[in-house]
């Protein structure tokens, strides 16, 4: 039981650390770093699901009958691309925000907004 789920627990820990960074930190770049960690740990979870004891990489070759499950691999390839797309857009926004507000800290930005309201 313990060993069987050890992997998943590590994933959960990573996920939550990433999630914590997103919520608790006010720095916009740090938030995006947190987002990346959060997403990456979900990828790790999927790939763990695909693992087969005694299996090998899913490229057909003579002499092997057991392969890791290719489907989650495919899904994660797609998800990685989606992740980098989000990161790029988030950073683009951060750069613009920095130009417009002169800061990349959540608090300062909110303060400026409240003044102008």
């Amino acid at each position: 039981m313990l060993i069987g789920h050890y992997n998943y627990w590590v994933v959960v820990a990573l996920m939550m650390l990433g999630f914590f960074i997103i919520i608790a930190h006010g720095n916009l770049i740090k938030k995006i770093v947190g987002l990346t960690i959060f997403q990456t740990s979900v990828f790790i979870f999927y790939i763990s699901v695909a693992k087969l004891d005694g299996g090998t990489a899913p490229i057909l070759a003579e002499g092997f009958t057991d392969y890791a499950n290719p489907l989650p691999h495919v899904l994660i390839l797609t998800a990685i691309v989606v992740g980098i797309a989000t990161t790029a857009l988030g950073l683009a926004l951060t750069v613009r925000i920095n130009e417009a507000y002169g800061s990349i800290e959540e608090e300062f930005i909110e303060k400026q907004d409240n003044q102008s309201c």
Binding site: H5, V10, T40, P58, L71, I76, A88, L93, V95, S103
Partner: protein, 325 residues
């Protein structure tokens, strides 16, 4: 890995945070290799440790390096995180054990991919078969996502007037390694063609070994970005114009879409490559090569595009003040 992430939580210096994130990406990639997911590892290494680190660095350079020390509402955040985490842990108790063969994930849909894909599609890399054919539409969506990101970054950061014609003494030129590092320059001059060659190899060999359009696109873009870093941004942009990159990105999506449209004009359904040629297996092969080409084209041009747009920003920001609004 947990250690690295904990360090990221505490670090205030964004530069080190980004570096640690790169390390995290590499560790993840090696974990994927241990999990037999070579294709994914390849991608994660190039994206997680490569492109995203690079973009983050550029963004840090454009903004501020230090994080403000004030941390607010950590208790609420902690509570949300603990509840979510506990829920997930709770969910793991009924999961099938790690690595066992009779888990539902292994026995249902995946069985057919492993057993029949060689006969139906004719290429040994199952991941490529699933990616490009069985779930080809997902991959089409993926290309569209990356295309969207490219256009979105352009819409946000591209600057009025464009770059053409004006030659400026930029930060990048003054500090480009062109003058300072002769050795680096010569080595990389030799290296860049090889990187581009390797990208092409990855592109067209994806059916047999790990790799494919996406990874090839990233490597190709990395080659171009290296070129830009060494010889200065404006030198690079005299050869590679953003306007062209934009069209190339669109072209990649269109190639992919056109393969789909042709296949339904030939009587199949959208993205049914079997009808492209008389022999269905050969048709699949042609289809996959074509769509991988589309993927590679879009990915390479969008990533280069995003990098250039980011890097251009500072120079033009100083000249044009803001976006012109």
């Amino acid at each position: 890995m947990v250690g690295v992430v904990v360090a990221i939580v505490w670090m205030k210096d964004l530069f080190s945070v980004v570096m640690l994130l790169g390390i995290y990406g590499l560790l993840t990639a090696s974990f994927f290799v241990a999990m037999d997911a070579v294709d994914v590892a390849f991608t994660e290494a190039s994206v997680g440790a490569g492109i995203s680190t690079l973009l983050l660095l550029v963004a840090v350079a454009k903004t501020k390096r230090k994080e403000h020390p004030v941390r607010h509402k950590p208790y609420i955040a902690l509570l949300v995180v603990i509840v979510t985490g506990a829920l997930l842990i709770y969910g793991t108790f009924d999961m099938p054990r790690f690595g066992v063969a009779d888990a539902p994930g292994h026995t249902h849909v995946a069985q057919r991919y492993i057993q029949d894909s060689y006969e139906e599609i004719g290429i040994p890399n199952i991941v490529t078969s699933v990616l490009a054919s069985y779930r080809g539409f997902d991959t089409f969506g993926e290309v569209v996502v990356i295309f969207t990101a490219g256009i979105a970054v352009l819409a946000l950061l591209s600057v009025v007037g464009g770059v053409s014609g004006v030659r400026r003494q930029s930060f990048y030129e003054q500090h480009s390694m062109y003058e300072q590092h002769k050795v680096l320059r010569i080595v990389s001059k030799i290296l860049i063609p090889f990187i581009l060659m390797f990208a092409l190899y990855v592109q067209f060999h994806g059916e047999y070994s790990p790799g494919g359009g996406f990874q090839a696109g990233v490597i190709f873009a990395a080659g171009l970005i290296l070129f830009a870093m060494l010889f200065g941004l404006s030198t690079a942009q005299r050869f590679i114009k953003i306007a062209w990159l934009q069209l190339m990105a669109a072209l990649g999506v269109l190639i992919y879409g056109a393969v789909g449209v042709v296949s339904f004009l030939n009587g199949g359904s959208f993205l049914d490559y079997s009808v492209l040629l008389e022999n269905p297996v050969a048709g699949q092969h042609v289809g996959i090569i074509l769509i991988e080409l589309g993927v590679g084209l879009t990915v390479a041009s969008v990533i280069t595009l995003i990098f250039f747009t980011f890097a251009n920003r500072k120079e033009q920001y100083q000249i044009v003040d803001s976006t012109g609004e």
